[in-house]
Structure formats: C-alpha cells, structure tokens
Amino acid sequence: MKIYISGLYSGTNPQPGVGIARSLRTAYPKAKLIGVEYSNRCSGIHWQDFDEIWLQRPWNELNLTTHTEEIRRVLDSGALWISSIDLEIMWFAGVFPDGHPNLLTPSSAALEQVEKPAVPAHEGLPVKIPTFVTTEISDWDLHAFCREHDWKVWLKGPYYEAVRTRSWAEFEEKRHILSNDWATGRLFLQTHVSGYEESIALSAYEGELIDCVRMRKRDLTELSKTWAGDISEVEAEFIEPLREIIRKINWTGGAELEMVRDADDQLWLLEVNPRFPAWIHGATITGRNMPASLVEGATGLTAKNSPALAEEFTRVVMEIPVRSEFPLSPLPEPLGGTIGHSLKHPSGLLQFASRLHNLSSFDEEKSNGGGKSSQFKAPNVPPSFINDLGGLDLTAMETPASLFLENTAAEYFRKAGELADDLSSDALAVTNAYSIKTNPDERLIKLALESGFLAETISLPEVKKAIKIGFKPEQIILNGPGKWWRRENLPDGKFCSIFCDSIEELNRVIENLESGELQTEHLGVRLRTPNVASRFGIPVDTPEVFERLIEAVRRIPKEYKFAAHFHMASSNVGVGHWWHLFESILRWCGSIEALSGRLIEVLDVGGGWFPEDLQKDSSRNFKKAVALIPEFLPHVRRIISEPGKALAQPSMAVAMQILELRNFENVVHEAVVDGSIAELPMYFFYPHRILYQNPQNGGWKPLGRGKTKLLGRLCMEHDIVASNIELPENTQIGDILVFCDAGAYDRSMSYVFGRG
C-alpha cells in the first residue's frame, strides 16, 4: 500500500502531515509513505517515517495542469492521498469534481457546507457560531460592529490567519496587510469568545463517520496553538448529530471542529478544518488512530492496533538528521534595514491563494474568500445631512470649510430632550447636559440652552462662556481635573454640581464650601474603577485609597446633596463594556453609600456615545439603565445624562476640494485635497462618512471603499484623510467632498497648520 501525505510544515504552527505519517506507520508498518511538500524549507520532509519525499516546486511556480495529471496517475495507480493543506484540498475539490476513490479529501459541495465563518452544516450540533460580519460592509458599519463587541474582535483571512484588532487604526492596518496577503478584500470580523479551547477530530469515508475524539488544549504556544492536550470520548449528544451531518454532506477525509467552551459551558464553533488537526498523533498515542481508521475505512485493510500509552499528550522539540538528498537552503538576506529573514509560508501558499481566485474551476461566488472585484458597500447617510447640505452654498465658501448642519443638530437635541422627558418620573428626574468641550460652538451651546440642557464644563473660562450665552450658575456642572484654572472667572452664585477628581480636591472643596468661597447644590466625586485605563477620577483600586475616600465622603457637610459621576467613552471601550462599567460604578457607589452613611442623590452619567449607539434601541437601553439605578442606589432622585458626542458629532461636516488627481495603471490611486487631519484630528479613531458632490447636478453620493488614498494638504507624513475610498469615475480637480460626522472632537480639537 502506498499513501501520499501532503503538508509537512513542522514549525510551532504545524501542518498535520508528520503526525499522520507517524500514526499510519504505527498502523501499517509495511505501507510505503510518501511525503509531499512544496518547499524544501518544511522540516517535515526529513521525518524518518517517510519512505520517500515527493518535493514539488512552490505553489507560485507550479504548473498546476501537469501537477493535476501526475496526481491523477498516482491515484489511478491505487495509491491513497491524504492532504493536510486546506488550499490543496479546495483545489482538489475543483480539479476532481467527481472525487476519486483514493483521494481522501472532501468534495467542493461538502467544503461549502463547512465554510467559515457561517459553517452552514453546524445545524443540530450543540454549538453556537460567534457573531461575524464580512468586511465588505462600509467602514462606518464595521466600526459600529467593533464598538458593539467592545473591540474584542478578530479580523480573519479567508483561509487562515486571525488577528486581534483593538482599535480602528489597528483594524485599518491589519486589514491592509491581510487583504494584500490573500489578494482579496473579502475578509471577515468575528467576535471573540472567552473560554477554553477544545476540538473534535474525526475521520469519515463517503459520508460514514468512522471515528471521532475530543481534545482539550492543556498547553498552548504563543499563537494559542496546541502544545499539550487530553483526549476523551465525544458524548452521544454530539456524535449523533455529527454523524447525520457527515452523512448529509457526504464527507470523506479527516476534519477538525475547533471550538471554545465558555464559562457557562456553552460551546462556540470557530471553524471546521477540512483535514486532520496537527495534533492528530496525540490521539493515536491514546489508542485512537484516526488516520489509520480513515485508511481502513477506504481500503478495508485492517490496521494494526495502536496501543493506548496515555490519556494525555504533549509536544517536545526534537533535532533530527537532515536527509542528504535535501540539504538545507541558505537563509534569505534580510531586506535592507529590516530585522529578520521573513520565512512565512515558504511553500508559496499566499500566492497559491491568489492563483486559486483566478482559476475558473474555483467558483468565485460560492468561495469564501475569493473575488477579484469585491463589492464594498457605501455607508448610509441620514437624509437630514443631505437636506442640510442642500441649504448651503458651497461655491461661496472657502475650503476647507466647517459646515453646520442646522436642522440635523436641532433634531438631535430635540430627540435627546424628548428621551429625557420620557424617562423622567415623579421619583426620578432625568436631565440632559451638554459638554461644552465636545464642541464649544455657540450655536450648539445655544441649542443646548433652548432644549433645557445643563452645561457641563471643565474650566472656568468654559463657565464664563456658558454664562455669556445665557446659562445661570445653577445650570452649570463643573468637572475635570483642572476646573479651577483661571479662578478670576469664578462667577457669583450657586453651581448645580461640582465633581471632584481626587480626594485632595474633595477635601479642598469642602473647605471652600464651609468658608463660603464656593456654593453648589450637589457635591460629588468621579471614580476610577479598577481595570480601567483612565487618568480621571479617584482610583479605588487599593483598599487604602478606598478607605481614605470613605473618610472624606463622611466629612461632606449634610446640606450638600452627594453625587457621583461616571463618564467613559463608549466609542473607545465598546458599548457592552460601557454597560459593564456603568453597573460596576453603581456597585462601587452602593458600597460608598453603605460605608459612609451618605446617600447618593444625583448621578451624572455620560460619555462618548456614537449617535447610532445612543439611538439604537435607546429608549430600551436607557430604560434599562434607569431601572437599574434604584436597585443599587435607591436614593438617587436625579440623573444627569451627558450624551457627549452623540449630539455634536453629526451636527457638523467638513467640506474640501480636490486639488490633484494622481493616476497609476489607469486608476486614481492618490488624490490631494485641501482639507487635512488638522480639520479631522479624529481620523485615526473612527471612519467618517464621505459625500461626493456631483458638479453637474449638485447631488450627493456616499463613497464606498476603493483603491484611492486621499492625501491632505499638509506637508506631514501622516496627513492622509482617507486611505481607501472609491472616487466616482469622472471626478475632476475642484470637485467637492464633504466629510460627515466631524462635529465633535474633530471640531474642538482641530488646529491651525500650514496656513502661513
């Protein structure tokens, strides 16, 4: 018996070829095992169990037609072929559409049923699939997905590779790398599931499940790959639906179901690999030789029993002799100025992936990652933006110009007011506050005043401005670490609330209140809870500081209502995490109440909302929040809600003109605009929706993702205001682009640069 085994890479993220060979050698001592590789750098070619090595040229050089014919001859001669290379398996499915009795790999119909991330064939198994989206949706929506899942997301390539992306800048960078590596923009984002990893490995022939085992990872490499594990039986509740699925999709070959078991014991299916796992010999050691069971199932030749040596296995690093017929190659020269020799994918798998995309046998529509011409969706832009833009005469403006979207802004403030009224009850009043630092534009501050908002300030100059616009001191909240800066601006009168940022400040403010130097209705603290990367508030992460805080709170004179303050940018920490922090703050406040004997009567909640996150089920979410408060803090009578950038962000946009178009291979690959990151300093933190104005009819078109970089006018390396957009075909110099969502910190933190 001759068995060809392909995929012999044997680094810390190995292919299973060597493990399959070791297992088959145990079961069929006399079989001729032929190792197939596409690079002489894959160390598995030197493994002793191979009687012969069939070394091919790397995938990027290989003549696939000749290679197909050679493989067909091998299979026709009666030899078996077990592949451990996902891409080779997909390619086989294309070039052997009707299969071959000796080819122990699944068909393309079967592969489609286990495609990640959806894994259509998981129905019936006691598993869930982690939420995912394709990266073909707009950047705006991708950012929303990341926020919704607290930035605990993985960007995954079409076949292999998964990278954590913790911020928008990181996401953009990794997306660029992965898209280039795999020659496709069709990647996907999937939520992270915390828990313990386990797998089920199986062997099946022509739709019959032959054997399967469970493996729990017990030690991991730096990349979370298996280093040690234990093997156990798969329970009947899993095997029965699995058997049904294997039958239904007529699977042939090995497979691995990679899963995570969470703290609630729920299994999450991450992916199904269409081959044996690299640890497969670990199962053989425990007496479950699955490669042998596959060969036995396919040929009927009885395998020699594999003795159970243990229930657990581990890996070691071994040095083995290099076969003289395959001497080692020299190391490639490091690229100028770089560190390391870059030896990733020595067999040219990345190039093979892009070759596969170009093969007609590889069905682009159905395939998961292929596609030369991916369809990226443009973002949805609210009609009110377009209406407001219609009322502005852009030709009369000097660009870059900041545009105030008047009706949009009014509408957002009105809705926030309505929501507060809706949530208020006799027992609990909900009041909005506008944080002036978000955007100190007078038009917005005025809107806030007219909409019944309080003014939230971080400095006495901000207080002065609020008063100038019409706020009274009792409508003003003071917050932040530097609120007493420029004390000459301190107004007469009683503030609404003062929130102290430290125990030192709290003690000082108590003295000032007692001496009559300051007046306020509420006096409170801002807390910095453990595990929050923040420079604000009183850190309660040691029992010593917590005890000092309790002592200070006990000293607050009884005539001031005690208040607590919680602000956290949900757009940075994620929406789910924001809610956790909110509940966490309520618990800390409950402890402070219980220990200090001072009841919390006012809670100031806010922070960095995206308008969509605030509006999405807002009444449901806010009702939930408002309902949660009395559970922990039954004496709160007033909630101050600071929607932050949810109101300011959509209220302004930045218009800019195209100064130059640069072509490369008939594509505009760079365009220079007169705007810059000086007007869009938040460019690195979130994507902005971009509108293009048709110069003929004045109509507006949202831009999707494409190949054009928009370079800002500044002579600064990082002044790139958009790195991948698709400009309309007839774009001309002088055409107008409008960057929406620029009304919050883009505006307040914009700076003057390069204007002489």
């Binding site: 607290d150 915390s194 234990d230 156990s232 969470d262 703290a263 609630d264 014991d265 229930e311 809870t529 453990p530 595990n531 929050v532 309660v540 992460d541 029992p543 010593e544 917590f546 005890e547 309790i550 789910g576 995490h577 809610w579 956790h580 922090l581 509940e583 966490s584 618990r587 800390w588 402890s591 219980a594 220990l595």
Partner: protein
C-alpha cells in the same frame, strides 16, 4: 501502629499475637479529616466592612463583562501564595502581600457568593513529591516545626466549589487560579480526595463533579 511509607498502608500491630495481622487501608485524607476550612474573621467594625466591600466591588469590576461563573483569578494576581497567620481579619487580609490557600479560597467563596453564585468551600488532598513538600516545609516552616498541612508527599489544600446548575459543580483552586480537573489522576499535583464543606449544605446532599458524586461534608477519594 505505623505507616508503611511505601504503600501508605496502616499496619495494625495491636491485639493478640495469635490474631492474624489485620491490614486496613488508611484514607489519604486521614490526617486532615477533622479539619475545617479556614475562615476570615471580622472585627465587627467599619475597618473590616470597607475591606469586604472593596473585595466584592473590585471583583465585579474585574469581571469586565464576563459571566458570573468566571473564576476570580484577579485575587491571585493581587496576592501571592504563601504562609498566612490565623486568625486573620478582613482589614488585614486585603493589606497582605501573601495569603495561603485557605484565605484565598475564603475570598473566592465570598466573591462567588456576592455574585449570586451558589458556592461552597472545598477541602482537598493533593499529591506532590517528597522533594516538593520538603521545599514547602523549609520555606513555610523555616525548618522548625513539621507543617500540619504536609504529610510525606501529600498536602492539605483548600478551594471552593460553585454550583453551575442542576447540582453540577466546578472546583476552583484560588491559589492556582484554575479549575481543578475532575478527571481522576495520580502523580505530581494530582487530586486524591475532596470534601465539600459548607454550613449551608445539608449533610448528605450530593453534587455531581465530572464523573464523581460528592456528598456534602463527606470526604471522597477521587483517584
């Protein structure tokens, strides 16, 4: 009576010389069968109350949104594992750098309970090696007294168990920061015996832990 060090068998030499020697197997938990789980004491004042609130509020913050069955590994990040003097009060415990398995288990039990998880204390007997236990004897006892929690290659250890539903339990080793594997094992670090000890459990109430059925307040040999 003496202990056969090799087979862990208690050899009864009492009684008439004519009687055949009766050999009874001594349970691995024999030395600790009457021990009770360690407790953290409370001064009854604000000092200990602040400390307890701090532990439970910090625990909730440390969950970072994960489920309530998540093991409170942060406790082990905060405190080293080592000898603790008893009695120990809450206000002292939170300020110590080092806590022993009993104090760590008591803290873990407290945080699980406050999270709303049904939790009970567990007492464990683990096997290590004579070398490991002699190291502990040296470092904990400074070479003076033999330590009561060590007997040859066995050690007494504490943790806590949580009920994840339908009387299925998971056993949390608060000193190691991991869930104890219920699969029977022998050898270095293996768990040999376990007892669920909690005042709130009814005697005889039983729980499922992997393949084991554990009755409250009764020692069970697991390997």
């Amino acid at each position: 009576m003496y202990l056969d060090a090799v087979s862990n068998t208690l050899i009864n030499t009492n009684g008439s010389a004519k009687t055949a020697r009766t050999i009874e197997k001594k349970a691995v938990f024999e030395y600790w069968k009457d021990w009770q789980p360690s407790q953290i004491s409370h001064h009854g004042g604000l000092c200990c109350e602040i400390a307890r609130e701090w532990i439970t509020a910090t625990d909730f913050s440390s969950l970072n949104g994960d489920g309530i069955f998540t093991g409170p590994r942060w406790l082990r990040q905060k405190f080293n594992w080592g000898a603790s003097r008893f009695p120990i009060h809450w206000c002292e415990a939170v300020r110590r750098d080092t806590l022993d398995c009993g104090a760590l288990a008591a803290l873990a039990h407290e945080v699980f309970t406050v999270r709303g998880v049904k939790s009970s204390r567990v007492q464990l007997v683990q096997k290590f090696s004579a070398l490991a236990t002699s190291q502990w004897t040296d470092s904990w006892g400074k070479g003076n007294e033999p330590l009561a929690w060590i007997k040859d290659d066995l050690i007494y250890h504490e943790g806590c168990a949580i009920d994840t539903g339908d009387k299925n339990i998971k056993v949390w080793d608060a000193s190691a920061g991991w869930w104890v594997d219920s699969k029977p094992a022998d050898g270095y670090g293996a768990l040999l015996a376990i007892r669920l000890s909690d005042f709130n459990l009814r005697t005889g109430e039983s729980f499922k832990w992997g393949e084991h059925i554990i009755k409250a307040d009764e020692w069970l040999e697991t390997s």
